[in-house]
């Protein structure tokens, strides 16, 4: 009974009535399946569209803003394309394929606008690996999946971040970001154009994998029946995508295409309707011409399949032979499956039979948009974690415990599974600096480079959604400053719980407000992103987790900053904003002490901090500093230890060992730098000299001296022992 099927497909009765209204009749099976996907949260942004409109999406170096497959900013004659996207729900069901196809999807978004992908970053969240075998399993397989796809396709994975919190036990987060390069005038759009032009589907064959992925998996809470959803997870084939990538770029190089679009969530339905909507045109498709992996697929299955490694393009009829020849050379299937019409309708044919006929606008633009009903929760939502450090521990014990904790330990066991050098651009690899640096010219001339970073700390956002989100943006910008880069653009992925619940709506509203304010303060436009809602299970929602990816520019790759101390005798200084006021609230230390993520986060001074970042950036570019590192999770003591470990050198500093907020407190606005003492004097009141680099121990003050070798061992083992 079709009248009930809409509920199974995730549509409300009111939404179903609206579809009937839009069509002027009841939808058939094909149409209902297509509407259910296009009107899902994943495709339709029903609960986030209004909020996203408040973000700054113009200005600066923006070349391509939200709405295209990926956004882009200008660097010289080039456009740097980038975007972050989630693949959370599929990864919770099948972590290897879920993570692998997450990478595959974001790569396609970038080469769909004509850019060659040059870097991948990823942001991962899991439950506590110490206590949860399932989280260790998800971690191992998600990391393997990311590596499998990125390594096999030959795009360097240059950065990322991972946090472990019990709030992610039921819903892991897998966010992948891709960065690509293209000459600015060669960017291609996805808008269909030219009535009578041919629509060609190329890439992998279409199968039953991923059917209903967008509606069933991405837009509802997970529950006990997860195993039954396994067939909804897509299977990735990086070899197919490598051919698809090279083939797509060659087609564009030869100027053969009018428009290009990748097939992601909602497959052919979303790709064709969005191309038609952007061009203000219609498209006729014949599903019988679609090459299938399995016989006897129904028309609706073909239209909603999320089989991976497929692209849709529009070209002039005279170009068809040439396009098919290029695809043939790359051993990529290509089939003309339809044409552009002036009807403004998406019409689906099965051979001669018309099996679906919908106004493009109804599918793409008429999806109902809901007002959130935010309400600050009266009581904290998240429980306290178990205490893992004894009360009244001394600073050395706390520092060691922090460095060895799963959240702060070395990520080497993860990033060693990723190829970080392919492409001959990687100037700063993981653990060499706060951000990855990629040189644009590969011939050794140095010159203009880009820096990339991805950040987001759910525990901070859980404690204060507004300030936590501001911190995520500032943290990312601070990382760029440490290598000498100025931020040009930002992409974000909003990972939240069920927005229909008032307290989640409140988190989302406040976090987006924070993101917007921080972006405006830095003068950085949002170029695009993705929203992943309904991340909650029986144990409640995830921490609200806005993940921020940023791209910056630096003028000379040879002056890229490093994080490690490098020369004995250099002065070590703290360069902090006047407003810097670190606090133990919702810090890593608070977590080890068994405190819930709550309390007052220090406010960020949005006038002062961008200026402070500029000071650091200029000093790194000028060569005054030999190292620069942002003070972040774990506070100043952890930052100093990280500089020692990265450089393999000790340091002797004099800190007030009774001042726990100074040692381990967190809050935006401070950097640990090293360099010749006279060079640091140029910073004047900004810089507070703490001591100097040297020896084989980190000495924090009288009586607290820890050998660097011991710090390094604890740091190296913290995560490695769990994998």
């Amino acid at each position: 009974m079709i009248a009930d099927r809409h509920r199974e497909l995730g549509l409300t009765d009111a939404e179903y009535d609206e579809i009937v209204e839009q069509l002027g009749r009841t939808p058939n099976q094909v149409e209902l399946a297509m509407f259910s996907l296009m009107w899902s949260e994943h495709c339709g942004y029903k609960h986030s569209k209004r909020l996203l409109k408040t973000l700054p999406v113009e200005g600066g170096r923006l070349v391509l803003g939200p709405g295209e497959n990926a956004g882009a900013v200008a660097v010289g004659d080039l456009a740097v394309a980038f975007k972050v996207e989630s693949h959370n729900h599929p990864s919770a069901v099948e972590p290897f394929q879920g993570a692998a196809t997450g990478v595959g999807g974001i790569l396609r978004d970038v080469f769909a606008i004509g850019a060659r992908p040059i870097a991948i970053l990823d942001s991962l969240r899991f439950g506590e690996p110490e206590r949860s075998p399932r989280s260790r399993y998800l971690l191992e397989h998600a990391v393997a999946g990311i590596g499998h796809y990125g390594n096999s396709i030959g795009v360097a994975t240059v950065g990322g971040e991972i946090y472990f919190e019990s709030a992610y036990e039921q819903n892991c987060l897998i966010n992948a970001m891709c960065v690509g390069l293209i000459e600015r005038e060669r960017l291609i759009r996805s808008a269909a154009a030219g009535v009578g032009n041919v629509v060609v589907l190329f890439g992998a064959r279409t199968g039953r994998d991923g059917i209903g992925g967008a509606s069933v998996l991405a837009s509802a809470e997970l529950d006990e029946g997860d195993a039954a959803k396994r067939p909804s997870v897509q299977i990735g084939d990086p070899f197919e995508e490598k051919k698809l990538l090279e083939c797509s770029l060659e087609l564009l190089d030869r100027g053969l295409l009018v428009a290009l679009q990748d097939l992601g969530a909602a497959g052919l339905t979303s790709a064709s309707s969005e191309m038609a909507a952007k061009g203000g045109l219609g498209i006729d498709l014949d599903v019988r011409r679609v090459p299938l992996r399995e016989a006897d697929m129904e028309p609706f299955e073909i239209m909603v399949s999320e089989s991976q490694e497929r692209m849709l393009c529009v070209l002039e009829p005279a170009r068809v032979d040439e396009v098919l020849a290029v695809c043939g050379r790359w051993q990529v299937n290509a089939t003309a499956i339809g044409e552009v019409t002036g009807s403004g309708r998406l019409r689906v044919f099965d051979g001669e039979a018309l099996v679906g006929d919908m106004p493009v606008g109804a599918l793409v633009d008429e999806c109902p948009v809901y007002e959130l009903e935010p309400l600050e929760p009266a009581r904290p939502i998240y429980p306290a974690p178990p205490r893992t450090v004894p009360a009244h521990s001394d600073p050395a014990t706390l520092l060691t415990a922090l460095l060895g904790s799963a959240n702060l330990a070395s990520r080497r066991p993860v990033f060693e599974q990723y190829d970080c050098v392919v492409g001959s651009r990687t100037v700063r690899r993981p653990e060499q600096a706060d951000a990855a640096v990629l040189v644009l010219d590969q011939t050794g001339a140095g010159g203009v480079s880009i820096a990339v970073s991805i950040d987001g700390n759910g525990r901070r956002v859980a404690a204060d959604p507004y300030r936590g989100a501001v911190e995520a943006v500032l943290e990312c910008a601070a990382n760029l400053a440490c290598v000498g880069a100025e931020p040009l653009g930002l992409t974000n992925c909003l990972n939240f719980g069920n927005p229909e619940k008032p307290h989640i709506a409140w988190q989302l509203t406040r976090a987006v407000a924070g993101l917007g304010d921080a972006c405006r303060a830095l003068g950085v436009p949002v170029v695009g992103g993705n929203v992943s809602l309904y991340n909650e299970g029986g144990d409640g929602p995830i921490f609200p987790t806005p993940v921020v990816g940023m791209v910056g520019e630096l003028p000379d790759a040879r002056r890229s900053g490093r994080l490690g101390f490098s020369v004995a005798g250099d002065a070590v200084a703290l360069i902090a904003a006047a407003s810097w006021s670190p606090s133990p609230a919702a810090s890593e230390l608070a977590k080890l002490r068994g405190e819930a993520p709550q309390g007052d986060l220090p406010a960020a001074d949005l006038h002062e901090l961008p200026a402070l970042h500029a000071v650091i950036r200029q000093a790194v570019r000028g060569g005054a500093l030999r190292s620069a590192h942002d003070v972040a999770e774990g506070g100043l003591a952890v930052a100093l230890a990280e500089c020692c470990i990265a450089g393999g050198l000790g340091a002797v500093v004099e800190l007030d060992l009774a001042d726990e907020a100074l040692l381990f407190g967190e809050g935006p606005g401070a950097f640990v730098v090293s360099g010749p003492a006279e060079a640091l004097r140029a910073f004047g009141a900004h810089a507070r000299v703490l001591g100097e680099v040297g020896g084989d121990a980190l000495v924090l003050g009288a009586g607290v001296s820890i050998p660097v070798a011991d710090l390094a061992r604890v740091h190296a083992d913290g995560l490695a022992r769990l994998m």
Binding site: A144, G147, H148, N151, S152, I153, G154, D237, P238, F239, E240, K242, K243, E246, R329, W330, Q331, F415, E416, Q417, Y418, D419, C420, V421, V422, G423, S424, R425, T426, V427, R429, V439, Q442, T443, G444, G446, A557, R558
Partner: protein
């Protein structure tokens, strides 16, 4: 000196090898489906996952039309360098002895390693005596051959490159990182010299192989 870099579907480090070779001479890509080496003076079979490597690594690529010509070229003394997947392909093609097995960890590992040049008579290694710091990245890089074969290779001076102690993460027999054929004109190695051609990106030690070949 003109280098040719083979491009299979699934090659990943082909452009890197091309850029590295262009630092010392001319270089162009050689398409897998063309049985034509276009008059190059040296051939590089690059890294990557040729034809997806869903079967044994290199097992399909060795049958590519271009490989017929590479084999002919190698047997006539032409300079051939196989890097990572290229090394696997050359072993599959019988141009180099031994085989590459999955790493002992069964995981992909990407790490900067240090190599010792054990035997420098190959034209690819001539004049190189210092240890080389080069990135190494693969899942299937554990060099293996039966002991009597290894003894013979050692006696012939074909075990050209070894990992320094602590750098053999894949579990290769006798720490072998690279081997040559008996004549020395064909060299295969798992580490990636084309990713070590500039201090800016970490090391310039790998450039010396290209320079040696061009000299």
């Amino acid at each position: 000196m003109k280098f040719g870099v083979v491009r299979f579907p699934g090659s990943c480090d082909d452009v890197d090898a091309l850029l590295a070779a262009r630092r010392v001479g001319e270089a162009e890509l050689l398409w897998h489906a063309d049985a034509d080496l276009r008059g190059v003076d040296a051939v590089i079979v690059p890294g990557g996952f040729s034809y997806g490597d869903y079967l044994r690594c290199g097992a399909i690529a060795r049958f590519a039309p271009v490989m017929v010509e590479v084999e002919r070229f190698a047997r006539h003394g032409g300079l051939v360098l196989g890097i990572c997947n290229g090394f696997q392909v050359l072993c599959e093609a019988g141009l180099l002895p031994g085989a590459l097995l999955p790493n002992v960890s069964l995981r992909f590992v990407c790490r900067q390693v240090t190599l010792e040049v054990v035997e420098g008579s190959s034209p690819w290694l001539r004049g190189i005596r210092d240890p080389l710091s080069i990135p190494c990245k693969h899942t299937t890089g554990r060099y293996w051959a039966p002991d009597p074969v290894l003894d013979e290779l050692e006696a012939n001076g074909q075990l050209a490159l070894r990992y320094l102690p602590g750098h053999n993460f894949n579990g290769s027999a006798r720490d072998i990182a690279g081997v040559t054929n008996a004549a020395g004109n064909v060299l295969g190695l798992m580490p990636h010299p084309e990713h070590a051609v500039d201090l800016l990106t970490g090391s310039a030690d790998g450039l010396r192989l290209f320079q040696a070949a061009a000299a």
